[in-house]
Symmetry: C2
Subunit: 224 residues, 2 copies
DNA sequence: CAGGAGAAAATTGTAAACAATATGGCTGCG
DNA sequence: CGCAGCCATATTGTTTACAATTTTCTCCTG
Protein backbone atom coordinates (compact mmCIF):
# COMPACT_ATOMS: atom_id res chain seq x y z
CA UNK A 1 0.00 0.00 0.00
CA UNK A 2 2.72 2.41 0.95
CA UNK A 3 4.61 3.79 -1.98
CA UNK A 4 8.39 3.46 -1.68
CA UNK A 5 8.20 6.85 -0.04
CA UNK A 6 10.77 8.87 -1.83
CA UNK A 7 9.83 11.65 0.51
CA UNK A 8 12.23 12.55 3.21
CA UNK A 9 11.64 11.68 6.84
CA UNK A 10 11.18 15.35 7.64
CA UNK A 11 8.44 15.57 5.04
CA UNK A 12 6.61 12.63 6.54
CA UNK A 13 7.01 14.02 10.03
CA UNK A 14 5.67 17.34 8.81
CA UNK A 15 2.55 15.79 7.33
CA UNK A 16 1.86 13.56 10.29
CA UNK A 17 2.29 16.39 12.72
CA UNK A 18 0.10 18.66 10.67
CA UNK A 19 -2.73 16.16 10.45
CA UNK A 20 -2.32 15.33 14.12
CA UNK A 21 -2.71 18.98 14.99
CA UNK A 22 -5.57 19.62 12.60
CA UNK A 23 -7.47 16.48 13.60
CA UNK A 24 -7.11 17.40 17.21
CA UNK A 25 -4.89 14.51 18.28
CA UNK A 26 -2.67 17.21 19.65
CA UNK A 27 -4.91 19.72 21.32
CA UNK A 28 -4.64 23.46 20.81
CA UNK A 29 -2.48 25.09 23.43
CA UNK A 30 -0.92 21.79 24.35
CA UNK A 31 2.83 21.94 24.80
CA UNK A 32 4.77 19.42 22.81
CA UNK A 33 8.32 18.37 23.50
CA UNK A 34 10.62 16.98 20.87
CA UNK A 35 11.43 13.90 22.93
CA UNK A 36 7.75 13.22 23.46
CA UNK A 37 6.99 13.44 19.76
CA UNK A 38 10.02 11.35 18.94
CA UNK A 39 8.70 8.56 21.14
CA UNK A 40 5.13 8.93 19.90
CA UNK A 41 5.80 8.99 16.18
CA UNK A 42 9.10 7.19 15.95
CA UNK A 43 11.00 9.87 14.11
CA UNK A 44 14.45 11.03 15.13
CA UNK A 45 14.80 14.40 16.72
CA UNK A 46 16.40 15.89 13.62
CA UNK A 47 13.54 15.38 11.16
CA UNK A 48 11.11 16.35 13.89
CA UNK A 49 12.87 19.65 14.44
CA UNK A 50 12.71 20.40 10.74
CA UNK A 51 9.02 19.62 10.68
CA UNK A 52 8.45 21.84 13.69
CA UNK A 53 10.26 24.69 12.02
CA UNK A 54 8.10 24.40 8.96
CA UNK A 55 4.99 24.32 11.09
CA UNK A 56 6.25 27.40 12.84
CA UNK A 57 6.63 29.11 9.49
CA UNK A 58 3.06 28.13 8.70
CA UNK A 59 1.87 29.58 11.93
CA UNK A 60 0.39 26.38 13.31
CA UNK A 61 2.72 26.26 16.29
CA UNK A 62 4.64 28.81 18.27
CA UNK A 63 8.00 28.11 19.77
CA UNK A 64 9.91 29.64 22.61
CA UNK A 65 13.64 29.13 22.95
CA UNK A 66 14.62 26.38 25.35
CA UNK A 67 11.06 26.16 26.45
CA UNK A 68 9.18 24.17 23.89
CA UNK A 69 6.63 24.42 21.16
CA UNK A 70 2.90 24.65 21.58
CA UNK A 71 0.03 24.39 19.18
CA UNK A 72 -1.46 27.79 18.58
CA UNK A 73 -4.40 28.61 20.78
CA UNK A 74 -6.71 31.12 19.21
CA UNK A 75 -8.41 33.67 21.34
CA UNK A 76 -11.97 34.51 20.49
CA UNK A 77 -10.82 37.78 18.95
CA UNK A 78 -8.38 35.93 16.69
CA UNK A 79 -11.11 33.55 15.63
CA UNK A 80 -13.23 36.51 14.58
CA UNK A 81 -10.26 37.97 12.73
CA UNK A 82 -9.99 34.73 10.83
CA UNK A 83 -13.60 35.00 9.76
CA UNK A 84 -13.02 38.56 8.56
CA UNK A 85 -10.15 37.39 6.40
CA UNK A 86 -12.23 34.49 5.18
CA UNK A 87 -15.05 36.79 4.17
CA UNK A 88 -12.67 38.88 2.13
CA UNK A 89 -10.83 36.03 0.48
CA UNK A 90 -13.81 33.83 -0.29
CA UNK A 91 -15.63 36.84 -1.66
CA UNK A 92 -12.81 37.30 -4.12
CA UNK A 93 -12.71 33.57 -4.74
CA UNK A 94 -16.29 33.38 -5.95
CA UNK A 95 -15.94 36.57 -7.94
CA UNK A 96 -13.08 34.95 -9.82
CA UNK A 97 -14.87 31.62 -9.95
CA UNK A 98 -17.88 33.16 -11.65
CA UNK A 99 -15.57 34.22 -14.45
CA UNK A 100 -13.40 31.14 -14.60
CA UNK A 101 -15.36 28.04 -13.65
CA UNK A 102 -16.50 26.00 -16.61
CA UNK A 103 -20.13 25.03 -16.98
CA UNK A 104 -19.12 21.43 -16.33
CA UNK A 105 -17.52 22.37 -13.04
CA UNK A 106 -20.64 24.24 -12.03
CA UNK A 107 -22.81 21.28 -13.01
CA UNK A 108 -20.57 19.04 -10.94
CA UNK A 109 -20.98 21.31 -7.97
CA UNK A 110 -24.76 21.32 -8.39
CA UNK A 111 -24.81 17.53 -8.50
CA UNK A 112 -22.75 17.43 -5.34
CA UNK A 113 -25.16 19.76 -3.65
CA UNK A 114 -28.07 17.52 -4.68
CA UNK A 115 -26.37 14.56 -3.10
CA UNK A 116 -25.91 16.47 0.10
CA UNK A 117 -29.54 17.58 -0.04
CA UNK A 118 -30.71 13.98 -0.26
CA UNK A 119 -28.57 13.02 2.66
CA UNK A 120 -30.23 15.72 4.65
CA UNK A 121 -33.69 14.45 3.70
CA UNK A 122 -32.73 10.91 4.53
CA UNK A 123 -32.20 12.32 7.94
CA UNK A 124 -28.65 11.23 8.18
CA UNK A 125 -28.88 14.48 9.99
CA UNK A 126 -28.30 18.07 9.35
CA UNK A 127 -25.09 17.68 11.28
CA UNK A 128 -23.65 15.96 8.24
CA UNK A 129 -24.26 18.89 5.98
CA UNK A 130 -22.76 21.08 8.60
CA UNK A 131 -19.46 19.27 8.28
CA UNK A 132 -18.78 17.72 4.91
CA UNK A 133 -21.31 19.54 2.79
CA UNK A 134 -20.27 22.96 3.86
CA UNK A 135 -16.63 22.09 3.42
CA UNK A 136 -17.19 20.63 -0.04
CA UNK A 137 -19.08 23.68 -1.19
CA UNK A 138 -16.50 26.17 -0.08
CA UNK A 139 -13.61 24.05 -1.27
CA UNK A 140 -15.02 23.78 -4.79
CA UNK A 141 -15.54 27.51 -5.01
CA UNK A 142 -12.02 28.17 -3.84
CA UNK A 143 -10.60 25.78 -6.41
CA UNK A 144 -12.82 27.38 -9.01
CA UNK A 145 -11.11 30.70 -8.52
CA UNK A 146 -8.14 29.22 -10.38
CA UNK A 147 -5.93 31.39 -8.21
CA UNK A 148 -3.33 29.17 -6.57
CA UNK A 149 -2.09 31.74 -4.13
CA UNK A 150 -5.61 32.43 -2.99
CA UNK A 151 -6.31 28.71 -2.67
CA UNK A 152 -3.17 28.15 -0.66
CA UNK A 153 -3.91 30.92 1.75
CA UNK A 154 -7.44 29.72 2.25
CA UNK A 155 -7.00 25.95 2.41
CA UNK A 156 -3.39 25.89 3.54
CA UNK A 157 -3.61 28.30 6.43
CA UNK A 158 -7.02 29.59 7.37
CA UNK A 159 -8.86 26.32 7.07
CA UNK A 160 -6.22 24.42 9.02
CA UNK A 161 -6.57 26.93 11.79
CA UNK A 162 -10.35 26.85 11.64
CA UNK A 163 -10.38 23.09 11.72
CA UNK A 164 -8.67 23.25 15.05
CA UNK A 165 -11.98 24.51 16.35
CA UNK A 166 -14.32 22.80 13.94
CA UNK A 167 -15.55 20.16 16.31
CA UNK A 168 -16.52 22.85 18.74
CA UNK A 169 -17.88 25.13 16.05
CA UNK A 170 -19.76 22.61 13.96
CA UNK A 171 -21.78 21.21 16.81
CA UNK A 172 -23.93 24.20 17.37
CA UNK A 173 -23.90 26.82 14.65
CA UNK A 174 -27.43 25.60 14.21
CA UNK A 175 -28.49 27.18 11.01
CA UNK A 176 -27.97 24.36 8.52
CA UNK A 177 -31.11 24.76 6.40
CA UNK A 178 -30.52 28.48 6.20
CA UNK A 179 -26.91 27.88 5.18
CA UNK A 180 -28.05 25.34 2.62
CA UNK A 181 -30.41 27.84 1.08
CA UNK A 182 -27.71 30.49 0.97
CA UNK A 183 -25.41 28.06 -0.80
CA UNK A 184 -27.97 27.58 -3.54
CA UNK A 185 -28.51 31.28 -4.03
CA UNK A 186 -24.76 31.69 -4.38
CA UNK A 187 -24.64 28.95 -6.96
CA UNK A 188 -27.44 30.62 -8.93
CA UNK A 189 -25.46 33.83 -9.09
CA UNK A 190 -22.40 31.83 -10.03
CA UNK A 191 -24.20 30.19 -12.90
CA UNK A 192 -25.50 33.51 -14.14
CA UNK A 193 -21.89 34.71 -14.09
CA UNK A 194 -22.92 37.56 -11.85
CA UNK A 195 -19.68 38.06 -9.95
CA UNK A 196 -20.87 41.10 -8.04
CA UNK A 197 -23.94 39.38 -6.70
CA UNK A 198 -22.08 36.17 -5.97
CA UNK A 199 -19.47 38.04 -3.97
CA UNK A 200 -22.12 39.94 -2.07
CA UNK A 201 -23.98 36.77 -1.18
CA UNK A 202 -20.84 34.90 -0.18
CA UNK A 203 -19.72 37.70 2.06
CA UNK A 204 -23.10 37.87 3.69
CA UNK A 205 -23.03 34.12 4.14
CA UNK A 206 -19.73 34.13 5.98
CA UNK A 207 -20.56 37.32 7.81
CA UNK A 208 -23.72 35.67 9.11
CA UNK A 209 -21.70 32.73 10.41
CA UNK A 210 -19.36 35.15 12.14
CA UNK A 211 -22.20 37.07 13.75
CA UNK A 212 -23.70 33.81 14.86
CA UNK A 213 -20.41 32.98 16.53
CA UNK A 214 -20.28 36.33 18.26
CA UNK A 215 -23.82 35.97 19.55
CA UNK A 216 -23.15 32.49 20.92
CA UNK A 217 -19.97 33.67 22.56
CA UNK A 218 -21.71 36.56 24.25
CA UNK A 219 -24.37 34.16 25.49
CA UNK A 220 -21.66 32.01 26.97
CA UNK A 221 -22.51 29.07 24.73
CA UNK A 222 -19.10 28.97 23.13
CA UNK A 223 -16.00 28.07 25.07
CA UNK A 224 -12.52 28.59 23.70
CA UNK B 1 25.17 48.89 19.68
CA UNK B 2 24.19 45.30 19.35
CA UNK B 3 22.01 44.08 22.16
CA UNK B 4 23.34 41.01 23.93
CA UNK B 5 21.31 39.08 21.40
CA UNK B 6 19.26 36.73 23.44
CA UNK B 7 17.93 35.49 20.13
CA UNK B 8 19.03 32.16 18.91
CA UNK B 9 21.45 31.75 16.04
CA UNK B 10 18.71 30.28 13.93
CA UNK B 11 16.61 33.37 14.52
CA UNK B 12 19.40 35.63 13.39
CA UNK B 13 20.07 33.49 10.36
CA UNK B 14 16.38 33.59 9.53
CA UNK B 15 16.25 37.37 9.63
CA UNK B 16 19.43 37.86 7.69
CA UNK B 17 18.36 35.45 5.03
CA UNK B 18 14.93 37.00 4.77
CA UNK B 19 16.28 40.52 4.35
CA UNK B 20 18.91 39.26 1.93
CA UNK B 21 16.18 37.71 -0.17
CA UNK B 22 13.79 40.66 0.05
CA UNK B 23 16.50 43.22 -0.64
CA UNK B 24 17.61 41.29 -3.64
CA UNK B 25 21.07 40.32 -2.40
CA UNK B 26 20.01 36.82 -3.27
CA UNK B 27 18.25 37.00 -6.55
CA UNK B 28 14.94 35.34 -7.28
CA UNK B 29 15.40 31.94 -8.83
CA UNK B 30 18.97 31.75 -7.67
CA UNK B 31 19.94 28.41 -6.21
CA UNK B 32 21.48 28.57 -2.78
CA UNK B 33 23.46 25.79 -1.16
CA UNK B 34 23.83 25.41 2.56
CA UNK B 35 27.61 25.36 2.39
CA UNK B 36 27.63 28.52 0.32
CA UNK B 37 25.42 30.35 2.79
CA UNK B 38 27.44 29.03 5.68
CA UNK B 39 30.57 30.57 4.23
CA UNK B 40 28.85 33.79 3.26
CA UNK B 41 27.09 34.51 6.52
CA UNK B 42 29.23 32.64 8.99
CA UNK B 43 26.50 30.54 10.52
CA UNK B 44 26.82 26.84 11.11
CA UNK B 45 24.87 24.55 8.86
CA UNK B 46 22.43 23.63 11.64
CA UNK B 47 20.99 27.08 12.31
CA UNK B 48 20.98 27.74 8.60
CA UNK B 49 18.90 24.67 7.93
CA UNK B 50 16.39 25.75 10.54
CA UNK B 51 16.18 29.17 8.97
CA UNK B 52 15.69 27.64 5.55
CA UNK B 53 12.88 25.47 6.82
CA UNK B 54 11.10 28.45 8.28
CA UNK B 55 11.52 30.35 5.04
CA UNK B 56 10.11 27.36 3.24
CA UNK B 57 7.09 27.43 5.52
CA UNK B 58 6.68 31.10 4.69
CA UNK B 59 6.82 30.36 1.02
CA UNK B 60 9.86 32.49 0.25
CA UNK B 61 11.99 29.57 -0.90
CA UNK B 62 11.30 26.17 -2.37
CA UNK B 63 13.45 23.19 -1.63
CA UNK B 64 14.06 19.95 -3.43
CA UNK B 65 15.51 16.98 -1.64
CA UNK B 66 19.24 16.51 -2.17
CA UNK B 67 19.15 19.19 -4.77
CA UNK B 68 19.07 22.51 -3.01
CA UNK B 69 16.90 25.47 -2.17
CA UNK B 70 16.03 28.31 -4.46
CA UNK B 71 14.37 31.64 -3.93
CA UNK B 72 10.87 31.55 -5.33
CA UNK B 73 10.58 32.87 -8.83
CA UNK B 74 7.14 34.20 -9.57
CA UNK B 75 5.71 33.74 -12.98
CA UNK B 76 3.72 36.61 -14.39
CA UNK B 77 0.51 34.73 -13.69
CA UNK B 78 1.48 34.29 -10.04
CA UNK B 79 2.27 37.97 -9.78
CA UNK B 80 -1.21 38.77 -11.03
CA UNK B 81 -2.66 36.30 -8.56
CA UNK B 82 -0.87 38.15 -5.80
CA UNK B 83 -2.50 41.37 -6.88
CA UNK B 84 -5.91 39.73 -6.85
CA UNK B 85 -5.37 38.59 -3.28
CA UNK B 86 -4.07 42.02 -2.38
CA UNK B 87 -7.14 43.68 -3.80
CA UNK B 88 -9.36 41.48 -1.70
CA UNK B 89 -7.39 41.78 1.52
CA UNK B 90 -6.68 45.47 1.36
CA UNK B 91 -10.28 46.10 0.50
CA UNK B 92 -11.27 44.41 3.71
CA UNK B 93 -8.47 46.20 5.54
CA UNK B 94 -9.77 49.65 4.73
CA UNK B 95 -13.34 48.63 5.40
CA UNK B 96 -12.29 47.62 8.90
CA UNK B 97 -10.01 50.62 9.22
CA UNK B 98 -12.85 53.02 8.51
CA UNK B 99 -14.63 51.57 11.52
CA UNK B 100 -11.66 51.21 13.81
CA UNK B 101 -9.07 53.89 13.13
CA UNK B 102 -9.17 56.76 15.58
CA UNK B 103 -9.41 60.33 14.36
CA UNK B 104 -5.86 60.88 15.59
CA UNK B 105 -4.59 58.00 13.50
CA UNK B 106 -6.36 59.41 10.46
CA UNK B 107 -4.89 62.85 11.14
CA UNK B 108 -1.47 61.28 11.42
CA UNK B 109 -1.94 59.61 8.09
CA UNK B 110 -3.03 62.89 6.50
CA UNK B 111 0.05 64.64 7.85
CA UNK B 112 2.22 61.90 6.44
CA UNK B 113 0.57 62.31 3.08
CA UNK B 114 1.22 66.03 3.19
CA UNK B 115 4.88 65.42 3.82
CA UNK B 116 5.03 63.09 0.87
CA UNK B 117 3.18 65.65 -1.23
CA UNK B 118 5.78 68.29 -0.44
CA UNK B 119 8.57 65.96 -1.32
CA UNK B 120 6.94 65.45 -4.66
CA UNK B 121 6.71 69.18 -5.25
CA UNK B 122 10.29 69.72 -4.19
CA UNK B 123 10.99 67.52 -7.10
CA UNK B 124 12.83 64.99 -5.09
CA UNK B 125 11.03 63.12 -7.72
CA UNK B 126 7.86 61.23 -8.21
CA UNK B 127 9.93 58.12 -7.98
CA UNK B 128 10.16 58.70 -4.27
CA UNK B 129 6.44 58.66 -3.78
CA UNK B 130 6.32 55.54 -5.83
CA UNK B 131 8.41 53.74 -3.27
CA UNK B 132 8.14 55.02 0.28
CA UNK B 133 4.96 57.02 0.04
CA UNK B 134 2.93 54.27 -1.47
CA UNK B 135 4.27 51.79 1.02
CA UNK B 136 3.57 54.07 3.99
CA UNK B 137 0.02 54.67 2.88
CA UNK B 138 -0.86 51.04 2.46
CA UNK B 139 0.97 50.01 5.59
CA UNK B 140 -0.95 52.47 7.75
CA UNK B 141 -4.27 51.34 6.38
CA UNK B 142 -3.38 47.73 7.02
CA UNK B 143 -2.36 48.49 10.59
CA UNK B 144 -5.54 50.50 10.98
CA UNK B 145 -7.64 47.43 10.33
CA UNK B 146 -6.65 46.28 13.81
CA UNK B 147 -6.81 42.74 12.48
CA UNK B 148 -3.53 41.02 13.26
CA UNK B 149 -4.13 38.00 11.06
CA UNK B 150 -4.95 40.23 8.14
CA UNK B 151 -1.87 42.35 8.81
CA UNK B 152 0.35 39.32 9.01
CA UNK B 153 -0.88 37.87 5.76
CA UNK B 154 -0.46 41.18 3.99
CA UNK B 155 2.84 42.42 5.39
CA UNK B 156 4.34 39.07 6.33
CA UNK B 157 3.73 37.22 3.11
CA UNK B 158 2.36 39.16 0.20
CA UNK B 159 4.49 42.24 0.61
CA UNK B 160 7.67 40.25 1.04
CA UNK B 161 6.91 38.48 -2.18
CA UNK B 162 6.01 41.68 -3.95
CA UNK B 163 9.17 43.35 -2.72
CA UNK B 164 11.12 40.73 -4.58
CA UNK B 165 9.94 42.52 -7.69
CA UNK B 166 9.61 46.02 -6.37
CA UNK B 167 12.70 47.39 -7.99
CA UNK B 168 11.48 46.19 -11.33
CA UNK B 169 7.88 47.23 -10.64
CA UNK B 170 8.47 50.63 -9.10
CA UNK B 171 10.60 51.94 -11.93
CA UNK B 172 7.90 52.17 -14.48
CA UNK B 173 4.35 51.91 -13.19
CA UNK B 174 4.32 55.55 -14.18
CA UNK B 175 1.12 56.79 -12.73
CA UNK B 176 2.31 58.44 -9.53
CA UNK B 177 0.18 61.57 -9.57
CA UNK B 178 -2.86 59.50 -10.40
CA UNK B 179 -2.04 57.12 -7.56
CA UNK B 180 -1.51 60.07 -5.24
CA UNK B 181 -4.93 61.45 -6.07
CA UNK B 182 -6.54 58.06 -5.54
CA UNK B 183 -4.91 57.83 -2.15
CA UNK B 184 -6.51 61.09 -1.12
CA UNK B 185 -9.94 60.05 -2.27
CA UNK B 186 -9.58 56.89 -0.22
CA UNK B 187 -8.59 58.90 2.83
CA UNK B 188 -11.62 61.13 2.38
CA UNK B 189 -13.92 58.15 2.41
CA UNK B 190 -12.03 56.80 5.39
CA UNK B 191 -12.54 60.01 7.32
CA UNK B 192 -16.23 60.02 6.48
CA UNK B 193 -16.35 56.49 7.88
CA UNK B 194 -17.81 55.33 4.61
CA UNK B 195 -16.48 51.77 4.59
CA UNK B 196 -18.33 50.75 1.43
CA UNK B 197 -16.92 53.59 -0.61
CA UNK B 198 -13.45 53.24 0.86
CA UNK B 199 -13.37 49.58 -0.05
CA UNK B 200 -14.62 50.26 -3.54
CA UNK B 201 -11.95 52.91 -4.11
CA UNK B 202 -9.17 50.80 -2.66
CA UNK B 203 -10.09 47.87 -4.83
CA UNK B 204 -10.19 50.03 -7.90
CA UNK B 205 -6.83 51.50 -6.93
CA UNK B 206 -5.14 48.11 -6.70
CA UNK B 207 -7.04 46.78 -9.66
CA UNK B 208 -5.74 49.69 -11.73
CA UNK B 209 -2.18 48.88 -10.73
CA UNK B 210 -2.77 45.28 -11.76
CA UNK B 211 -4.20 46.24 -15.10
CA UNK B 212 -1.28 48.55 -15.64
CA UNK B 213 1.03 45.63 -14.99
CA UNK B 214 -0.85 43.45 -17.45
CA UNK B 215 -0.70 46.10 -20.14
CA UNK B 216 3.02 46.64 -19.69
CA UNK B 217 3.61 42.93 -19.79
CA UNK B 218 1.66 42.53 -23.01
CA UNK B 219 3.66 45.37 -24.51
CA UNK B 220 6.83 43.55 -23.56
CA UNK B 221 7.94 46.34 -21.23
CA UNK B 222 8.00 44.09 -18.20
CA UNK B 223 10.45 41.27 -17.87
CA UNK B 224 10.11 38.59 -15.22
C1' DC C 1 30.43 12.15 -33.11
C1' DA C 2 26.25 11.23 -30.27
C1' DG C 3 24.28 8.92 -26.54
C1' DG C 4 24.11 6.34 -22.54
C1' DA C 5 26.01 3.71 -18.62
C1' DG C 6 28.64 4.11 -14.67
C1' DA C 7 31.48 6.05 -11.25
C1' DA C 8 33.01 10.08 -8.71
C1' DA C 9 31.90 14.34 -6.48
C1' DA C 10 29.01 17.48 -4.34
C1' DT C 11 24.99 18.33 -1.71
C1' DT C 12 21.48 17.46 1.39
C1' DG C 13 19.31 14.18 4.88
C1' DT C 14 19.93 11.86 9.33
C1' DA C 15 21.78 10.73 13.65
C1' DA C 16 24.31 11.35 17.85
C1' DA C 17 27.00 13.88 21.23
C1' DC C 18 27.62 18.14 23.56
C1' DA C 19 26.56 22.96 25.19
C1' DA C 20 23.44 26.51 26.74
C1' DT C 21 19.30 27.94 28.73
C1' DA C 22 14.86 27.90 31.06
C1' DT C 23 11.98 25.65 34.43
C1' DG C 24 10.76 23.87 38.87
C1' DG C 25 11.80 22.49 43.37
C1' DC C 26 14.41 23.01 47.47
C1' DT C 27 16.61 25.30 51.16
C1' DG C 28 17.49 28.96 54.11
C1' DC C 29 16.55 33.39 55.72
C1' DG C 30 13.46 37.08 57.11
C1' DC D 1 4.78 30.98 57.25
C1' DG D 2 6.18 33.18 52.98
C1' DC D 3 9.46 34.59 49.79
C1' DA D 4 13.99 34.97 47.59
C1' DG D 5 17.75 32.92 45.71
C1' DC D 6 20.14 28.95 44.25
C1' DC D 7 20.80 24.42 42.44
C1' DA D 8 19.30 20.27 39.91
C1' DT D 9 16.94 18.67 35.98
C1' DA D 10 14.86 18.60 31.75
C1' DT D 11 14.52 20.59 27.30
C1' DT D 12 16.08 22.85 23.43
C1' DG D 13 20.07 24.89 20.63
C1' DT D 14 24.37 23.76 18.27
C1' DT D 15 27.97 21.26 16.35
C1' DT D 16 30.08 17.34 14.24
C1' DA D 17 30.25 13.14 11.87
C1' DC D 18 28.10 9.94 8.76
C1' DA D 19 24.66 8.11 5.30
C1' DA D 20 21.88 8.58 1.20
C1' DT D 21 20.73 10.68 -2.97
C1' DT D 22 21.26 13.49 -6.82
C1' DT D 23 24.06 15.51 -10.18
C1' DT D 24 27.68 15.67 -13.30
C1' DC D 25 31.56 14.26 -15.67
C1' DT D 26 33.93 10.74 -18.05
C1' DC D 27 34.49 6.99 -20.85
C1' DC D 28 32.93 3.46 -23.63
C1' DT D 29 30.10 1.90 -27.41
C1' DG D 30 27.38 2.10 -31.54
Amino acid sequence: MAAPDSRTLADQAFERLQTAIVKGDIRAGEKISEAELSAKFGFGRGPLREALHRLEGRGLIVRKAHSGARVVALTFEELIELYEVRESLEGMAIRLASERMSQEEIDDLKRLMDIHAEQIKEEKGLAYYQKEGDFDFHFRIISGSKNRKLSNMLTGELYHLLRLYRYRLSTFSGRPEKAFHEHWRIIEALEERDGDLAELLMRRHISAARNNLIRKYRDGELQL
